[in-house]
Symmetry: C2
Subunit: 259 residues, 2 copies
DNA sequence: ACATCCTGCTTGTCTGACAATCGGACCGCC
DNA sequence: GGCGGTCCGATTGTCAGACAAGCAGGATGT
């Protein structure tokens, strides 16, 4: 005890792999390394940080998972922009796990979707309008298949997000999309007149976008979502119940490429 | 093209550490393991999965980073709810890295904050109203210190998020809060009349909340944000410029304990 | 009964190794 | 010269085994 080594407080119990992650993270966030630029190999990082490769690897995993780092085809490391889709998946997962109710979801979706659609009415480009048109045509074409319609519905709304040219809104809106989407499938399977109503709503929304008519846009988006809600209630469910666990997927499972 | 090799999906052998992560993730998402419940030790997982401990560790890191798994004081693993704050940090980081403009931020914030405030007007509890009141009093008290005012401003808006009792909105709104916040600091430092205006706006918003007056609420939130925008422009900046890199922090850096 | 010590268990880190894969150089053949 | 095939080095994914430090809980001495 009389020893000089006794009184020193714990400096920091932060494990080394976290320190490694932080160090690289700072480099990226500060802009010293730009997206797309390669990071050294594991061996190089080992030399730079003076820790073991296992430790470096654990640190790298963190960033890789966070999307700050990517491995391209060569399996080499490079800086990559965080992927919105992944983030949205994780947000929906968090929402489901905290047992958010359908009512909360509905309320938020109403706000976000109307706002996004209004922004889209201002700024939609001809290209996106064409994509929306194609989407509707395709929906009409597969209108017998609820699963396919559901998927196209989700795509439709994502396209509107893109049309808004506001990435903050897009990111905020995407989780509601992901969470509403599975329920839409259930509804369409149970309620026959759901699909035609959905298609009509999409048509009217697109029409409003083309005319740059924000009010009509708002009206039809509201109507569309209210249809969803009515359908939801007609399937015998309660808006106050939490979103079912089943609806959330792990973030590693979304790999089906766009056909 | 006439070749049969054109339609094959990309072969991608998923590395073992990812498989481990997915397996555990599925257990958690499906509800077989509940939040708070402990997961086996590393050694146990090694036995269950039949892979090396390094591999298990890399897999665990992924989930730990994603917030699905936590290490409590004993450093033992247990399931934990994803933390909203962390998610919001990561969202803002993604937005900054994709060079979102202040205009996008402003537009989204306008929508989200008004909607949140309206919801809060409906459902705010006396407890939260008291907290808001205390927050304003404190702001008044430190009105000489722009940094402190800024921090309290951020807290004020987070409280309104809580008052809305809509966690979807809350999560969607938080990133805009995080990103607007540093700029508010700059503005208050430069523009003297900023602080009193801010306090007045907070007062009026709280008043509207207490009267459950959604319209007044909306009006004052809009006014408050417009003040921010005017201040922003008066500091000589342009709404169309991307949000500065400096404003985003790594997610591991928030460690300064509350004094 | 209480304080103390010892003994595992668990995690964080390190050492060293090997197989598979990818990029590139090199070589032989048309 | 262009082409395909082969070999080599670099890099990653995975493994086996080891050790120090922190912590829990039981054994021990008083």
């Amino acid at each position: 005890m009389t020893d000089a080594t006794e009184g020193f407080p714990r400096i920091s119990s932060t494990p080394a792999y976290k320190l490694v992650a932080e160090a690289i993270e700072r480099q990226i966030l500060s802009g010293r390394i730009r997206p797309g630029q390669p990071i050294g190999t594991e061996a190089a990082l080992v030399k730079q940080f003076g820790v073991n490769r296992s430790t470096v690897r654990e640190g790298i995993r963190l960033l890789e998972h966070g999307g700050l780092i990517r491995r391209d085809s060569n399996r080499r490391l490079s800086v990559g922009l965080p992927h919105y889709g992944r983030l949205a998946t994780r947000m929906s997962r968090a929402l489901v796990l905290s047992e958010v109710t359908f009512r909360e979801l509905y309320e938020a979706a109403m706000v976000l979707q109307t706002a996004t659609a209004e922004a889209a009415a201002e700024r939609a480009t001809p290209e996106i309008l064409a994509e929306l048109e194609a989407n509707i045509a395709m929906t009409q074409h597969v209108s017998d298949d609820p699963a396919a319609v559901t998927e196209l519905d989700a795509e439709f709304h994502t396209l509107i997000g893109k049309a808004s040219q506001n990435r903050v809104l897009q990111l905020a809106r995407e989780p509601t999309n992901l969470l509403i989407f599975p329920t839409t499938g259930l509804i369409l399977r149970k309620i026959k007149e759901g699909t035609p109503r959905l298609i009509e709503a999409h048509r009217m929304i697109l029409d409003a976008l083309q005319r740059r008519d924000k009010d009509a846009c708002r009206t039809w988006v509201r109507r569309h979502l209210n249809d969803w809600r009515r359908g939801f209630e007609r399937t015998g469910k309660d808006l106050n119940q939490p979103i079912d666990r089943i609806y959330v997927q792990g973030e590693h499972s979304a790999d089906a490429g766009a056909a």
